[in-house]
């Protein structure tokens, strides 16, 4: 679904390196892109893969790369470069059990904090986490739009369960999703300054070979793009990287809810765990002793939907909120910060999915105190 969505979103190039469990997306793109005359390239390593994709993006084309945790770690230097140079790119990380080589064929959500700050230095990352096949499609489409809008790498955190899932998606659902709603801004003036924009706006990088001859560097730079060490300009640059995201949170924040209207309990989860949660909620609402449970699923993990989470904390006591994650509680801290309380948790980091039964057992134990 990610591959299809990328294609529909106008992805013209991909640079990848094989890694389980992300290769399926790359395999699909390797079929789709050349058929349309676009560029698909398997590179010699992940560093080259992201560098290649970045080169394609600089040339003015939508590009992406796909990897998993260990490969994502190798890309971290280049991610920092992309944040600094404001070159857009979509990076998919299909998470697997870690750390280290970990559990290549098993799911996990261990890269959530890493994706928030994937590189040395101060960056304001935008991280999306689809949980179902349809969400894979819609979030990938959104990632390409956000990349062009905010001129920075957009990270999609999928996981092995989502990546290897065999599921059905209705064609009409996909056709309803609008693609390419945002185009990369350009400036026709020959004298324009690529980084000379308002303090809450992203840079404007025209495609290469258009006559405007600007410089792209990973060093701190001024409005023209040339290196500078001026303390005011350096501060302004980093402030703008944060402000361009912070000032437009409403364009970025995205979440899904399930049966929240009449719920007594709420499950906060993301990624493939949401599928288990929905199943568990349906089960608990039926039967002899039904419990009214709802779900809140952030689709944009970072920046987190903190206002909405704060509202949830107003409506539910902390004993009735459950955070479920396939890790040691990487998002829990953010939920606690946003809710200003300490919700219950169900955590698992052994490479096995969290089953609906486990969620049900936990909620029932909360229900009975």
């Amino acid at each position: 679904m990610c591959a299809r969505a990328a294609f529909a979103s106008g992805c013209r190039a991909a640079g990848v390196y094989p890694i389980t469990p992300s290769s399926e997306i790359s395999d699909e793109l390797a079929l789709l892109l050349p058929k349309a005359g676009y560029v698909f390239k398997q590179k010699e390593d992940e560093i080259a893969a992201i560098a290649f994709a970045a080169g394609c993006s600089m040339a003015g084309f939508k590009a992406m790369t796909i990897t998993s945790g260990p490969g994502f770690a190798l890309m971290s230097e280049f991610l920092g470069y992309l944040f600094m140079t404001e070159v857009p790119l979509v990076v998919i990380n299909v998470m697997r059990g870690g750390p280290g080589t970990g559990l290549p064929t098993r799911p996990a959500q261990g890269d959530v904090l890493n994706a928030r700050n994937p590189t040395p230095g101060d960056v304001r990352a935008i991280v999306l986490a689809p949980g179902s096949a349809l969400q894979c499609y819609s979030e990938t489409v959104r990632a390409f739009d956000l990349a062009e809008r905010f001129m920075q790498p957009i990270i999609i955190l999928s996981d092995e369960l989502v990546g290897h899932a065999d599921c059905h998606v209705s064609v009409s659902d996909i056709e309803n999703i609008q693609t390419n709603t945002i185009l990369r801004r350009q400036n026709p003036l020959d004298s324009y300054q690529p980084y000379g924009v308002k303090k809450d706006e992203p840079a404007i990088l025209n495609p290469f070979f258009n006559g405007q001859q600007y410089h792209i560097t990973g060093l701190h730079h001024d409005r023209t793009g040339f290196p500078t060490e001026d303390h005011i300009l350096c501060q302004e640059l980093i402030d703008r990287h944060f402000e361009k995201v912070n000032a437009h949170l409403d364009e970025i924040e995205h979440f899904e809810t399930y049966k929240m209207d009449d719920a007594d309990y709420v499950i906060v989860c993301y990624g493939s765990v949401a599928l288990s949660a929905i199943n568990a909620i349906d089960r608990m609402r039926e039967g002899k002793r039904p419990i009214k449970v709802g779900m809140f699923q952030p689709l944009t993990l970072w920046p987190s939907p903190e206002k909405r989470m704060f509202e949830i904390a107003r409506d539910f006591p902390e004993e009735n909120i459950l955070v479920v994650e396939m890790n040691k509680g990487q998002y829990r801290g953010e939920v606690e910060r946003a809710m200003r309380n300490r919700p219950q948790v169900l955590l698992k980091a052994n490479g096995r999915p969290i089953t609906p039964a486990e969620i049900e057992t936990k909620i029932r134990s909360m229900h009975h105190g």
């Binding site: 005359g37 560098a51 290649f52 070979f209 290196p227």
Partner: protein, 287 residues
């Protein structure tokens, strides 16, 4: 006479006094001028190091990439914009050490671009550590007792990796360097030039050479023309390097051409087959 204001953004550079990187820059500009290339069709990519500074001096679309990643970025641009002129410049540390795997791969890709490694025998920007090309026995910042590793021959490495154009041309002879760069520009495919250069401050001073002139004299003992090199005995060849165009292989498909040919084939097959509907895509793939 070349009008340099057409090609450079500013006249002054940040290179040390006595540095010869500027000679390579001049040779590149002279070659672009001689071939009549428009700067709007040129993209200039450099890595990290003293050589990396060169991109910010050139008056065209320029990219200053992370350390060692010059070539994959260059390939991305070259693949998306066939027909444009892609020039990449690295130092011996950037291209010969941290970026060596990319270097080997690009030799095979054979995408049309020119790659110049300015070999000053040291990591000059970080104050003189040993690079793979630092001659055995010389002293470096992190090897104060002398380099005990064998020296990398960049041209042999490129030849071994399958590059289709390999040349070595030192900064000691600007005219030859220009001619070599022009030949590389005209080569349809990946062309590689090693250009040995003088670093009197961070290499020379550490090794008893007190001026650019002394480094040049030392270099003259190291490099000699290919035809003179070839007649030497094996013992005499040790520690010496031939200059000139060492390899030029014609007839190897250029990277973009090879891909375009494949795309054409795929599309021809796709035209014969009925279009695959989205709903039956999974089944079609399995066939």
């Amino acid at each position: 006479m070349v009008d340099y204001s057409k090609y450079v953004r500013k006249e002054d550079t940040q290179w040390c006094p006595g540095c010869t990187n500027g000679i390579v820059e001049r040779a590149i500009i002279n070659s672009v001028d001689a071939l009549g290339w428009e700067m709007r069709d040129v993209v200039f990519i450099s890595g990290i190091g003293c050589s990396g500074r060169m991109s910010s001096y050139m008056k065209c679309n320029t990219v200053h990439t992370p350390h060692g990643r010059t070539l994959p970025v260059a390939e991305g641009i070259a693949r998306m914009c066939p027909g444009k002129h892609v020039i990449a410049v690295s130092g011996d540390g950037d291209g010969g050490s941290i970026g060596r795997s990319h270097f080997a791969q690009e030799c095979l890709e054979n995408v049309d671009m020119t790659y110049i490694i300015i070999n000053n025998f040291t990591y000059a920007l970080t104050k003189g550590q040993a690079s793979p090309t630092t001659p055995t026995g010389t002293k470096a910042a992190m090897m104060p007792y002398g380099v005990y590793t064998r020296t990398l021959d960049l041209c042999n490495f490129a030849i071994g990796s399958g590059a289709t154009f390999v040349a070595r041309s030192t900064v000691l002879d600007l005219r030859t360097l220009e001619k070599t760069i022009q030949a590389a520009f005209l080569h349809h495919g990946f062309s590689f030039i090693e250009s040995p250069s003088c670093c009197p401050i961070n290499f020379g001073l550490k090794n008893g050479m007190r001026s650019t002139h002394e480094v040049k004299e030392w270099m003259e003992t190291l490099f000699l023309q290919k035809k003179k090199f070839d007649i030497l005995s094996d013992e005499e060849k040790a520690g010496k390097f031939p200059t000139g165009i060492l390899k030029q292989e014609l007839g190897v498909p250029e990277g973009n051409d090879a891909y375009a040919a494949q795309v054409k084939e795929i599309q021809a097959i796709a035209r014969e087959q009925p279009a695959v509907a989205l709903s039956s895509y999974g089944e079609a793939k399995g066939e």
